[in-house]
């Protein structure tokens, strides 16, 4: 399904570059010397046994943790240690392991809130309902509609997000990321809890998003079929350390990876 698509847009610097990342919690080295790069329009996956430090890598990239060492560059710009909302504003957004929606807000409101970092509106123009304000508000609703249709959630627009079926919640969370017009979408175990049909739909959706919106996807996932299916390259981690970065076929036959998953003989 995938071809190496880096040739499509030749960029001199990778979109995301992680160098010698280090994260220490007390005496525990959760991430130890992880390095990789994500190229434009690429689907890049991080896999590894539970507790390998994958989500910690995500939290460092997203600005939720301050790394103890190493560098994170977004299109050549150093974003190491920036607060999370500043990272998001640079076009790097994520979903969470176990969905994090605004449960008591409606589906539509979830998508409107996500556009606020772009909508620049003064307090006064909103209180007086100026024409510019109304136009901006209408544009935000239109944009939200577009994503509701993309995800097939239009009929639930006025439903409270917490009342949606689990699969729909997952899709809404991705829509909420995409509506911010990111450059890099980070998905933390997006297939967890989905049934086989929903997983197939997810794979198609990720591929479609990547092609239609020309973004890169950074993925943490346990479902190997999904990962091997849609990834261009894969980073394998174990105990906080990188084992290898390679293309799916190569990773599948790598001895060290097999050992990491099956344990030492």
């Amino acid at each position: 399904m995938t071809e190496p698509s880096t040739a499509l847009v030749p960029v001199p610097t990778p979109l995301l570059e992680v160098r010698a990342l280090l994260m220490r919690f007390g005496g525990l080295l959760a991430v130890d010397g992880v390095a990789f790069d994500v190229r434009a329009n690429e689907v890049f996956s991080i896999i590894g046994p539970n507790g390998a430090g994958k989500t910690t890598v995500f939290n460092c990239i997203g600005g939720f943790y301050k790394p103890s060492g190493g560098q994170i560059l977004l299109a050549g710009e150093n974003i190491t240690g920036l607060p999370s909302h500043r990272v998001a504003r640079k076009g790097l957004v994520r979903t969470f392991q176990g969905v994090r929606l605004f449960k008591n807000l409606t589906v539509l409101e979830n998508l409107l809130v996500a556009q606020h970092m772009q909508v620049k509106n003064g307090l006064l123009s909103g209180l007086l309902i100026t024409r510019a304000y109304r136009r901006a508000e209408q544009a935000a609703i239109e944009h939200a509609k577009q994503w509701l249709d993309f995800m097939g959630l239009r009929e639930y627009a006025n439903r409270e997000a917490g009342n949606l079926a689990y699969g729909h919640q997952r899709r809404l969370e991705i829509a909420r990321c995409m509506i911010t017009r990111p450059r890099l979408l980070m998905l933390d175990e997006p297939a967890a809890g989905l049934n086989p049909q929903e997983k197939r739909d997810l794979a198609l959706m990720i591929d479609r998003i990547r092609r239609e919106y020309n973004i890169a996807v950074l993925l943490i996932e346990h479902d190997m079929r999904l990962v091997m299916d849609i990834s261009d390259r894969i980073l394998v981690m174990e105990h906080g350390r990188p084992i290898t970065v390679d293309r799916p076929e190569a990773v599948q036959s790598d001895e060290r990876v097999i050992k990491a998953y099956l344990g030492e003989e």
Binding site: G62, G63, F64, P83, S84, H85, R86, A88, R89, V93, R94, F96, R100, L101, F102, K103, N104, L105, T106, L108, E109, N110, L112, V113, A114, H116, M117, V119, N121, L123, G126, L127, I129, I141, K145, L148, R154, A157, N158, E160, R176, C177, T180
Partner: protein, 406 residues
Amino acid sequence: MLAQLPRALIAAVFAFVILAPIFGLKLVRQGMHSALQPHWNIVLWGCAAVFVVQLLHPWLARLFARVRLPSVPALDEEHHLWAWAAVVLLAVVWPFFGGRSAVDIATLALIYVMLGLGLNIVVGFAGLLDLGFVGFYAVGAYTYGLLYYWAGWSFWECLPLAGAMAALFGFLLGFPVLRLRGDYLAIVTLGFGEIIRLLLTNLTDWTGGPDGISGIPSPTLFGLEMTRRASSPEGQTFHEFFDMPFNPDHMVIYLYLLALALALVTLLVSNRLLRMPIGRAWEALREDEIACRSLGLNPTRIKLSAFTLGAMFAGFGGAFFAARQGLVNPESFTFIESALILSVVVLGGMGSQVGVILAAVALTVLPEVVREFAEYRMLAFGFVMVLMMVWRPQGLLPMKRPQVDL
């Protein structure tokens, strides 16, 4: 029911231990010493009540599960508008026929509506527990009091400034404090409210200390004073201008209408804010701060805006309070007052504006109408706060989410 017996017995014993030393053995002063006065009836009745309730517990639980509360009737937009217009019209007209003391109580209720709606922005919308709200109320009241005392400013000159000062205080306090976690925030704001009160009490040279500032003039109506005689030779009074006999009721009604106007402005503005991006951001922050950050929303700025705006409304309320009372002193701004405003918000349902209005009216009018209730007022408020949180944290009248036609 027999299975419940041991449990009920234990509960009754506990009730005895709880009741006996506080209600059963009353301390009374006898000259220099104190003595004990037994009141075993209360204790025994209490124990018996607890015993019976615990005995019937499973049965009562089933009964309560079946009780349904009425939800707010969903009016469509057009009816909504008419209903509001009717309510406002009624609120404007009735004082001209109502008694003076009733109008006075209604004015007080409207002050709490204003404060409740202001605190609702902070607690209900943004989910930040502010226990020092009364501090901003005090800032507003003293802004008017001090400016009048030291510079002779009038109410209308001070009103915007009172809001601005309170907002400034909110901003300056919020800036460092809002990075803290929710429960720390509650304590720090509580401490801040107390610091303001203690400073007002102790900076006697500036604020008049515990006696405060008195003789603060009431608001004028387009420059007309509502008093019997003008305060200065060139001043003019309301009854002279309209060539009417002086009637102190005019002042009471005027103050009421002013409070109504201020409360309505607070309602309209906060309602508008809720439907704006900033209001949605407040609610999103209340729901999940981490998700907000992941979407590029700056939590500190969002919290600060809620905190500052809430404080501003408290400031307006404070200035009006000072004008109505004619005096300000630190006694009016104790923690109890903050707790009272908080219970208005909690009872009304956090985030629900209609609920907050009804709760403010109920909590101020009830103690006035039922005098016996006044003694138990704070006890009841405390009880209701616990009850509401355990049983119905979204309040009696939870808010309906805005629906958009797509």
